[in-house]
Symmetry: C2
DNA sequence: GTATGTGAACTCTTTCACAGCC
DNA sequence: GGCTGTGAAAGAGTTCACATAC
């Protein structure tokens, strides 16, 4: 029944394609070739065609892709043609920034529950969401399930919160805490980790400096 | 003069190794094998050994790696043994969460400048950093350079801000705005993009649902 | 005995290049 | 003529397996 397994790298590129296409559409574009889309994204046209070929044949030879149609197909493939319910754990500064961020909702990601351990926060309504006690997390999520959990608590409690989310039936988690990623089997855990990004960027910064300091001796 | 080019994937894994090692050290561990470190991280021991072998020979056969020594070597390779100065552009909710985040400073990443376009914010002092007008960005950064720029402005202005940062001599940028990534040549641009993460997570969520809905017919 | 470091084998991913179609 | 879709080739990255060292 299953088609061939589709590489994870391919899945990861599709949302970018969808985003670029939406932009092009907003500019009034209604047909585009893999070459142009590739230039837009800094990606080879062959890669775009190969990626899309995993899912079907969406283009017209000699012409390119219909922008609207391709957006629709990508959104359907990725499951972006419906709403997904999220629960946020941790409403500190970061959690509040997440709640207030206007970029999730238009993409169909609705944060419908929020949890915290701070008694001063519990009961507050932040951006239309009532903050519940994290002590009720499991029971509360069993009553009203969500599709995805967002973890925005300090590193020290993140592993515990992730365990509780999993126990509550949440298998897809977006984690902002800087922990060592140890997803239990069957759990889809993604990290948002600016420190890790910075810590690999510095390698290249250092390289650049070294190049400048010691000009190559030919 | 240059050694062989080291794959980017390898560089990206090193900060995780360093983080796991720091944790192990805090637990009092002072020697570790690639097997154990791999179990900690969910990575094969061969991968760890191969990754490290790009940079030298840090272990002792029959014994493993000295935790402290390996941390020091990794930090030196990545350039984490010094301070890096950052400039933040955009002090809205997200920008303020970034300024207030306690996780950068202990790792040597100091946000020393902040910029915004909102007249109500300009002149304010947030977490010890005076907010300057984004109109002065280029001049200000030319006077007091930084190593890395952080972009936390709305998507509509992000491309412009990135251009100005580059013009100001900042070639390493961590961008939080959901844009189509088009780094000018020679610029090291990294995206922090939770929406993109969610949009690929849903593919797997959908898969899981389909599997559950239609049990396989053997 | 035990675990590293590393060529060789393997697997995954990207790119090429062209037949087929518009 | 122009661009897609796709096998085949090339290139990257990972894992194996073992000689080597402690």
């Amino acid at each position: 029944m299953n088609g061939p397994e589709i590489p994870g790298v391919v899945i990861h590129r599709l949302p970018m394609y969808a985003r670029a296409l939406a932009l092009l559409q907003a500019e009034g574009r209604d047909v585009i070739s893999s070459l142009e889309l590739g230039q837009e994204l800094g990606v080879t046209p062959a890669q775009i065609r190969k990626d899309l070929s995993y899912f079907g044949r969406f283009g017209k030879q000699g012409r390119g892709y219909n922008v609207q149609q391709l957006i629709d197909r990508l959104r359907s493939i990725l499951g972006l043609d419906r709403e997904w319910r999220l629960a946020l754990v941790g409403v500190g500064r970061l959690g509040q920034a997440i709640l207030g961020y206007g970029g999730f909702s238009p993409q169909g990601f609705k944060v419908i529950r929020a949890f915290d351990s701070d008694p001063d926060q519990i009961g507050q309504i932040l951006d239309g969401v009532r903050v519940e006690s994290v002590a009720n997390l499991e029971q509360s999520l069993r009553e009203t399930p969500v599709d995805i959990g967002i973890v925005a608590v300090p590193a020290a409690s993140a592993l515990h919160v992730i365990d509780v989310l999993v126990a509550s039936g949440v298998h897809s988690i977006l984690n902002y805490a800087p922990i060592v990623n140890r997803a239990p089997p069957g759990v889809h855990l993604r990290q948002i980790d600016p420190v890790l990004e910075l810590q690999s960027m510095t390698y290249y910064l250092k390289q650049r400096e070294n190049e400048t300091d010691t000009p190559a001796i030919d």
